[in-house]
């Protein structure tokens, strides 16, 4: 139905374009009026008026129609005497009614279901009909309005541009909408989670074992279950594991990345730079699932083998393997950003240092790096935020159990790993376990947001200093 409507709207618009164009042309020739814009702009003007209001209406309608019909149907079913003790049951009945309507339901159909299905068909019909009528009404109204405007020889180009500018503005608002969407979806479930689990139990608990939260529905938790749940969602082991793996990653990425950045900016000839810089940046372009595969199947077992030979017990999902590979992934982030910031240190500072007899490395160590420090710190912070938000490497190479450990040879888990583990496969909505994934997501979002904000501020401040 919607596709037919969109098709009709398109046809109307196209024909209106040609109509508007030729109409204004003939008017201007016949009555010898000087038009305020080129004839095609009158065409565009009609197209915009014909399509935008109708399409916007169609979009909004399609978004809300299912929700409204659902609530009406559930209410009628309840009025018929259906027992709907909770949301799940209501959803189930609704799905059944829908299936009956589509002819794909093969269970027993009782009188309540039958009546509701008839009501459902009625409402669907009513909604579709009113949708079509309303859309045509809107098209007719807006076309009449715009035709009248054209007759009065309006400044069609200016009007078209105002509308298009509005469209451009709306496109740029998508970014804000996305942010709002993220915040809303994370907060919505997190608030439900924190209404069951005390936020302090979450933030300072030292035990993470969400599989204990077998309760299906958060609203009907008994006291005993609550006691059980209370210390199942402790955030400390996760943040410890995440920071630990990120720390190992930074131990790899910062020295290698920084030294490569310095070498590229200060020593490398243009030729070396032109070849090696893109190759290092390949590391940033490789999908993280590839690193995860490499870490899980090659590096992890390799470390275990080496550990066995040395008489150490190394977990094949050791924090070391995950951290090392993550570090390698992050090298290009550190190296190209620090390359950039070092390049933008003014040459006069170096020249001054050479003038008093310093060698190149002394100049770098004592003049260039201190001058570039805020920028370098910014790039390291950005790299850390990458590391804690990184998912696939740790999902595939780090452990699943939340151990509080600082032994890099043991396995640890991370925030992102837990989010994936909780949400992969079938989820029970409204269970604290599922909601905890959103609480973790919220924590992760806030943490990366703060890190990025500080980092971007640092880099920006630094840039302004030498501009």
């Amino acid at each position: 139905m919607n596709i037919v409507l969109i098709f009709l709207i398109t046809i109307f618009s196209v024909s209106l374009f040609f109509y508007g164009k030729s109409k204004t042309k003939t008017i201007s020739i016949k009555d010898n009026i000087k038009l305020n814009a080129l004839p095609k702009f009158y065409g565009y003007y009609l197209v915009l008026w014909c399509s935008i209001p109708a399409l916007v209406f169609l979009l909004v309608w399609s978004l809300f129609e299912p929700v409204i019909i659902k609530s009406i149907i559930i209410e009628t079913a309840a009025n018929q005497g259906a027992i709907l003790s909770d949301k799940n049951e209501a959803n189930l009945i609704y799905e059944k009614i829908k299936a009956i309507h589509l002819g794909t339901y093969f269970g027993d159909i009782d009188s309540i279901l039958r009546e509701s299905a008839i009501a459902y068909a009625k409402f669907i019909n009513l909604f579709t009909n009113s949708k079509v009528v309303l859309i045509f009404g809107i098209i007719i109204a807006s076309v009449i309005y715009s035709l009248k405007k054209i007759k009065n020889n309006n400044k069609a180009r200016d009007d078209v541009e105002v509308i298009l500018k509005g469209l451009l503005f709306v496109s740029s608002l998508i970014a804000i909408l996305t942010t709002l969407g993220i915040i809303f979806s994370l907060l919505f479930e997190s608030i439900k989670f924190f209404s069951v689990i005390n936020i302090f139990d979450y933030l300072f608990g030292t035990n993470w074992s969400p599989q204990r939260a077998f309760v299906r529905d958060a609203s009907s938790i008994t006291a005993a279950e609550f006691e059980e749940l209370k210390d199942a969602f402790g955030f400390i082991p996760l943040i410890a594991g995440t920071s630990f793996i990120a720390f190992i990653a930074m131990l790899v990425a910062v020295p290698i990345g920084l030294f490569s950045g310095i070498y590229m900016a200060e020593y490398a000839s243009i030729k070396v730079r032109r070849i090696s810089k893109p190759i290092i940046e390949i590391l940033a372009g490789i999908p993280t699932v590839v690193y995860g595969f490499f870490a899980a199947l090659t590096v992890g077992p390799f470390f275990r083998q080496v550990g066995e030979n040395l008489g150490l017990t190394v977990s094949s999902e050791s924090a070391l393997a995950a951290g090392l590979i993550m570090g390698i992934m992050i090298i290009p982030y550190v190296s190209s950003l620090s390359d950039d910031v070092i390049n933008s240190v003014p040459q006069s500072l170096r020249d001054g240092s050479y003038a008093v007899g310093a060698t190149k490395s002394e100049t770098i160590k004592q003049v260039v790096i201190p001058a570039a420090l805020p920028g370098i710190i910014g790039s390291v912070l950005l790299a850390i935020s990458r590391a804690i938000g990184e998912t696939m490497i740790v999902v595939m190479a780090a452990g699943l159990a939340a151990n509080l450990t600082i032994n890099p040879l043991e396995s640890t888990t991370t925030i992102t790993t837990q989010i994936v583990m909780i949400l992969v496969g079938d989820q029970e909505f409204d269970s604290p376990k599922t909601q905890s994934a959103f609480a973790l997501g919220l924590t992760l979002f806030i943490a990366t947001l703060i890190l990025n904000y500080i980092a971007q501020r640092a880099v920006k401040k630094y840039r302004e200093k030498y501009d």
């Binding site: 451009l168 503005f169 496109s171 740029s172 490569s260 190759i279 595969f293 595939m396």
Partner: protein, 420 residues
């Protein structure tokens, strides 16, 4: 310490420092080489499959159809007995147990392969043909040399007797390697020898297509607004900060967004390229806007002023002059953004693309997998055959990424104007 000694020491320090720099670059490059080499050495064998050349006699009594039977009759006919009767002749087995072990050396699709051969030529009743039947995963890995045969029998998936049959096959030149068409045409399967990336390829294609259709126009329009029309005010600043932050939000958060908004609230179908495409579009949007704005910014103001001077409106100057000049940079930024989206895994896992899907999706609203998710799924499987399949999938994924990046670089170098 004398002056000379001190100078020498400082020069040594200089050399050392330089050496550190070179070493780090070298380490980074070395890692690229190791990774690529590792994947290639594991994955290249997946493009070939092991086949056992077998003689198949189409016995009319077993098949119960005539020469020249119609398509439907053949589809309905039972080829199971034909398969069993012919396969056990591949090796002179002594009893039932030995025959069972022999049959296990062929893939689970042997019956279908025989049926397909008959479908191609329905006059085969009473005739004997030689057919290359796909070998089972264990034989496949053994023949490719990925499977050690010197392990004790109880730790091997292949029995000693099966090894004897294998050696017999090799001796009689009945076993060979063919191009692995299953790898490209089939969907996922529990049997490594039958598993392919056909479904994942189509799923990835649909996802990226939807991502392109949604993200590209919005990103271009948004960057034109921000770069050319936006007044300098609080709202504009806020949008800018937002875009920069969104570009740095971990991808898994977009997965949570999609789960809550697209699946739970709007109730779009789970595990589909449609949802994947929308999710990836939201994620890619800021990553495209940033290079788009940079290329718009690089167009010098004189172009705009020239257009305005001859009477163009602001809109005309932007859309007729600035945007076409910025297009190469915009396109190459978009392609790089899409390449990132193609390799993205975490959000797709959350929207249920990890479901086991055998069928190749025929539309964007069918459940499907995608290339990176297929890598994740297969890497979790225990069978040895999946290791080479995973690596080969990675090779495919990486070659797509390389091609996309080359196109991006080419567009930039060939068409972008340098303004100096």
């Amino acid at each position: 310490m004398t002056k000379e000694e001190r100078l020498k020491k400082r020069h040594r320090a200089e050399k050392r420092f330089r050496f550190y720099g070179l070493t780090s670059i070298f380490v980074a490059l070395l890692f690229v080489v190791i990774l690529v080499q590792n994947i290639f050495s594991k994955g290249s064998s997946a493009f070939k499959k092991t086949v056992i050349t077998t003689e198949i006699f189409f016995d009319q009594e077993l098949l119960e159809i005539q020469n020249g039977a119609s398509q439907e009759e053949i589809m309905g006919a039972d080829f199971y007995d034909i398969m069993i009767e012919n396969l056990i002749k591949a090796y002179p087995a002594k009893d039932r147990d030995e025959e069972d072990e022999l049959l296990k050396l062929f893939s689970g699709d042997a019956e279908i392969e025989i049926k397909k051969a008959f479908l191609n030529d329905n006059s085969l009743i009473g005739k004997t043909i030689t057919l290359d039947l796909t070998a089972s995963d264990d034989i496949d890995q053994l023949h490719k040399g990925n499977y050690p045969r010197d392990l004790p029998e109880e730790r091997r998936r292949i029995s000693d007797f099966q090894l004897v049959i294998y050696d017999y096959f090799v001796e009689n030149k009945m076993i060979s390697k063919n191009f692995n068409n299953y790898f490209f045409n089939n969907g996922d399967s529990r049997d490594p020898e039958l598993a392919g990336i056909g479904g994942a390829l189509v799923g990835s294609f649909y996802s990226i297509l939807i991502c392109l259709l949604l993200a590209f126009p919005v990103a271009v329009l948004a960057s034109i607004y921000l770069e050319e029309f936006a007044p300098k005010n609080k709202i504009t600043d806020f949008i800018e900060i937002n875009i920069n932050n969104l570009a740095a939000v971990p991808s898994i958060v977009y997965g949570l967004l999609a789960l809550q908004i697209l699946l739970a609230t709007i109730q779009l179908p789970r595990s589909t390229p449609l949802v994947a495409g929308i999710t990836l579009a939201l994620m890619t949007l800021p990553r495209i806007i940033i290079p788009c704005r940079a290329s718009l910014k690089a167009v010098p103001p004189s172009i705009r002023e020239g257009a305005l001077a001859v009477g163009a409106s602001k809109f005309q100057s932007v859309f007729h002059h600035v945007v076409p000049l910025a297009l190469p940079g915009t396109l190459s930024g978009t392609i790089i953004g899409l390449a990132q989206a193609l390799g993205e895994t975490a959000p797709l896992i959350l929207i249920g693309m990890v479901a086991f899907v055998v069928d190749i999706p025929s539309s964007p609203v069918d459940p499907s997998s995608s290339l990176p998710v297929q890598v994740y799924l297969w890497s979790e499987s225990a069978e040895r055959g999946f290791v080479e399949k995973t690596s080969a999938t990675i090779m495919m994924l990486l070659s797509f990424l390389i091609v996309m990046n080359f196109i991006a670089v080419y567009l930039r170098q060939k068409f972008e104007k340098r303004w100096n």
